[in-house]
Symmetry: D2
Subunit: 352 residues, 4 copies
């Protein structure tokens, strides 16, 4: 890397994922935030005033006084932006940046289903960055849009990837217990979730049944062939601040021993090109032996929130294996994932 | 019923299920609590002092001053006891009562797996009371032991029963989100569950994978032929006071429409002999149409806590149907279920 | 009372206090809800659809299909309305009803500070209904506006009233721990209160420092002379569904024994005219002896949520007595209080 | 400091404060944990197995395999121990270590009231270490016992100290909202605190009414003259993981402006000898201007959990000032405070 940091912007920095971008980019070795954007009625106000900060880590000092800019490529002149835009806004704003030559690393779902836009996890499918030149050619862009997956998909997809590479995974039952921060801010009303579970999250089940298939799919002729994998999802909201837990039952190509599965997960490594980047999870997957782990409060910050934690691997009476998977929804499943994506783009010289 | 109420005892009345027995039996039209028992070091003390009452409904006045007796048939002379004993204690104490001619309606798991002891749900398998004469003959008892199921099994089994009768159920994926009161008192430490989920409950998954098969099984030659049904369970503890929620995916004998499934569940009725008893759930199953229901805080007290609430019925990409099932764990799933069992025994003249 | 019930309306019935009005008025012996109002964009829609019901008790069947009306005296023709309007809307809408001859029993703070509008608690100051004729004369109304106090003031004021009558109360330190339902719906964002306390509630401390002084004041020449009592308040929001807890230190006219204080509170009775009404609290004050009570979850529903619960009475090293006071914020402190007010108005023939 | 670290032991390392000692001493620049002790039935077992770790930060690797020793000076040969012993055990065990020449920095309350044992906060009363020679002479010890205060007293006492030095503080009303971790492990049962507040903590109010007076007192003839300050305390347990919040009303020697109070608190510095130690809080007091701060979840980790956070400074209608004070109960109020004490003892050459 050059000694000089790459100037970056954060789109929609006042929301809950936007805040996480600001917090994680503080002291990033490669990137320096020089612009942050917010809704139109807040433009020009300092971030410290305009933002209702909800993270336990204090707002970085440099962000306090940074004025909010408009979310347009004219307003902020940088080669790379991180987008925490809501999906409807992202539909138009992100292409405008890509058109203007900016690499957009996005947490929004708006473009995930486009055939030439990758849903990227560097520890899973770094080869999918091959869609960037396709995208540029298709759309006449000099920039690009690269998305990270839905927050629940992140840990789930890494886990399936490791077992799929080693054995083959055919079907997956998934029940998620998702944290409050996944709903943004203000998100869930306290009276709705207090002493309660909400067994429904709008549009979530559809995403989690589809996105892993794209991430695990093979590139063919400039688009992704969906992986031959069937997934059934039940999504629940629970009263946990951060950390999405997934109960997972897997049908494999063949039965394997619990120890063997643990070994496969424990030794899974990111592809070479995705290793040794600043946000590379260390380890990619942590396997726990205790009978009652992982747990969100105790394990969500493993590997600085980038590690996927798997435990309770055991035989399943219907399929082959049961297990519990945890990953941090606003770090590995959102802002941290997008930063890791950007690092991969830099390494592949796809930015600027 | 006779005008005079049947005198009953509550074994281990100071625990969380024991308290629920005391609360639900207050003003019961058929039963009158005349004795309550507690651990040996508390015998003779008034219940109001010896018991750390954790229910929101106040302790009934008559219970306040009732002294704790020893858990032996000599100490309490009644034809019927409700047992909230821990499983290890139940192993010996309950047979002693049955031997002495007492009908034991038990919430303990100790005897559930015995071939001649029914796991009884009057709205599911009232015919299993035919095991009572078998049990008496086998063991030379004049009393009997009749158990209710594990708390998580209750709503689940009714739901499967209705669909099994109508269509046939072959396989079930079950992920439970279980309430704190299911762990007894003191149960789960607050620091363990606060801002957290615990994806493990000791011995729970085994029970929920097996007990429904016994309850749904056919009586043959004085024992139960387990139902031909495979179940896979993931059990989780969540920060909810009462009400166990289950995410359920079912493989049926054939695909049916969501509306048809809703109709089957909504119109399910208890067998005739189990209807119109004081604790008969009204309705047995409540089907909800809202996209985000049932929820524990809002729906656990439907039908005074005896009704099973089912919602979010929708197609499952792997099996046939997904749905969410809620039932109150200390009412329908424990004390209320045992009282309903006792009512059935009275109606069948199997008590006293 | 006449055999025929008085037809009533509920203004702003879709909010959290409005829902409580609907729930508490179900099967009320004197009142029958014939109209409910909501925000303009929802008019005409059935309540069951337009309202996000957040109470654990199910919505009454009659309310499900009742269409929402506009909040104007033309739209709903009744002699009595209960108002759960937000304060800004109440400022204009409530006088329009009073002008049209309707008795308005209001939970809004908009008119509480008007000299001719009583803040009424029948068990404390039923004589303040003497402001109704004053109000009618001042304003040329044939109806009237009668308010209940801020939710935190309710239990606090009854407690002070009892001790003030018996001994005299000079100064009060008050720290409240207030429930989520007090903030309305959606109210507090879950991510703000989860694993947290918010030591601030907008405008709350001012109200609680002033309203008890008006309720405890003497009527003189058609207005209230504020009671000579100084109050200091710290208001906090905590993660509790219902029930406002108050830590209270009192400086009395003279020191009294703890037992004497307990006796005074325990034997406090509502003035004769306020007794034996449908919503009269039974008892008005419940005194608890246990060292760790009252607690919101266990004690908020005493006396159907209308009773004030006091415990932990003990000497105070600075003033004279410390104690803990609990009352249900949306029942005694809001909707239930307003219904009790209306019952008093009916008894005094001030309605219709 | 010398290049070689001082070997230290942690007594009762498996409890919740003991775990915090282990976590905070990881990589401490001066101290190296070489021994940890636990209850007799666990002796010899590795800490990683014997300890139910409840902190979100993972257990340090070196601690996992360290075997538990007996809590006697024979079993562990170090010049300094940190004690997380329960008070009853501390009564005998801590003097045995002091007798054997060991400096005991204790979190237990057992010896706090002894006239020759300091309750030490380096940023408040470092001169109270003058009791160490007195203690040695009185008791014939070559070691010593130095205690930190009750967890609730810590932030409270620093706040009062700053205002007392500048203006004079005469009376304090204190209502605490205390976190779950303050109750140790297993501590509070989840069913007791879920959806609830417990307005009682055994022996807590007495401690908080007395300990600040000792810490703020003057040394005279080898003992502490209690500060002339009256305190009234109401203690509450709330559902927060960490961080004790205090609502505080102060009677000063004279009224001062809110701005002046903020300036006094904001500029308060530790005495010279207590500055620049590894655990010196930076800053000692953080004053917040936002209307709704401090809040436990957002502010408890300021200054790595050693800073006291004060906000909502405003006039009090009865006394002079109201404010809200937050400090981390297991860091500044327990283990971190004891480590800071030990650093002061090292600097004053009172160890070893």
């Amino acid at each position: 890397m050059s000694v000089e940091k790459i100037p970056v912007g954060v789109l929609a920095a006042t929301g809950s994922v936007g805040q996480r971008f600001v917090q994680l980019l503080d002291r990033h070795p490669w990137f320096k935030v020089v612009a942050i954007t917010g809704s139109n009625r807040k433009i020009g106000r300092p971030y410290g005033e305009a933002c209702h900060w909800v993270l336990a880590d204090p707002m970085p000092a440099w962000a306090q006084s940074m004025p909010l800019s408009e979310s347009t490529p004219d307003a902020i002149d940088v080669p790379l932006v991180f987008s925490a835009l809501p999906s409807t806004a992202a539909a138009d704003i992100e292409p405008a940046f890509a058109q203007a030559g900016v690499a957009v690393c996005s947490n929004a779902s708006a473009h995930r289903s486009a055939p030439d836009v990758p849903i990227l996890m560097p520890e899973v499918n770094p080869d999918h960055t091959a869609l960037v030149p396709v995208q540029r050619q298709n759309r006449g862009w000099s920039g690009c849009i690269v998305t990270n997956s839905n927050c629940t998909c992140a840990g789930l997809t890494v886990t399936i990837k490791a077992l799929n590479d080693a054995i083959g995974v055919r079907r997956a039952f998934v029940v998620s217990l998702q944290a409050l921060s996944g709903a943004g801010y203000p998100g869930v009303a306290s009276i709705d979730i207090h002493d309660n579970v909400i067994p429904y999250i709008a549009s979530e089940e559809e995403k989690v049944e589809w996105e892993p298939r794209k991430m695990l799919g093979a590139l063919e002729n400039g688009s992704v062939q969906l992986a031959d994998l069937q997934i059934s999802v039940h999504a629940n909201r629970v009263a946990v601040s951060d950390g999405h837990l997934v109960c997972l039952s897997l049908e494999l190509a063949e039965q394997i021993a619990v120890d063997e599965a643990a070994r496969i997960l424990d030794t899974y490594e990111a592809p070479d090109i995705s290793q040794s980047l600043p946000f590379t999870p260390e380890p990619v997957i942590l396997v726990q032996d205790e009978p009652d782990r992982p747990q969100p409060r105790l394990d969500r910050l493993r590997g600085s929130g980038m590690t996927t934690v798997v435990g309770r691997i055991r035989p399943d009476p219907l399929f082959h294996l049961k297990m519990v998977v945890l990953s941090h929804n606003t770090i590995r499943g959102a802002a941290g994932g997008s930063i890791y994506n950007a690092e991969l783009l830099v390494k592949q010289e796809l930015i600027g």
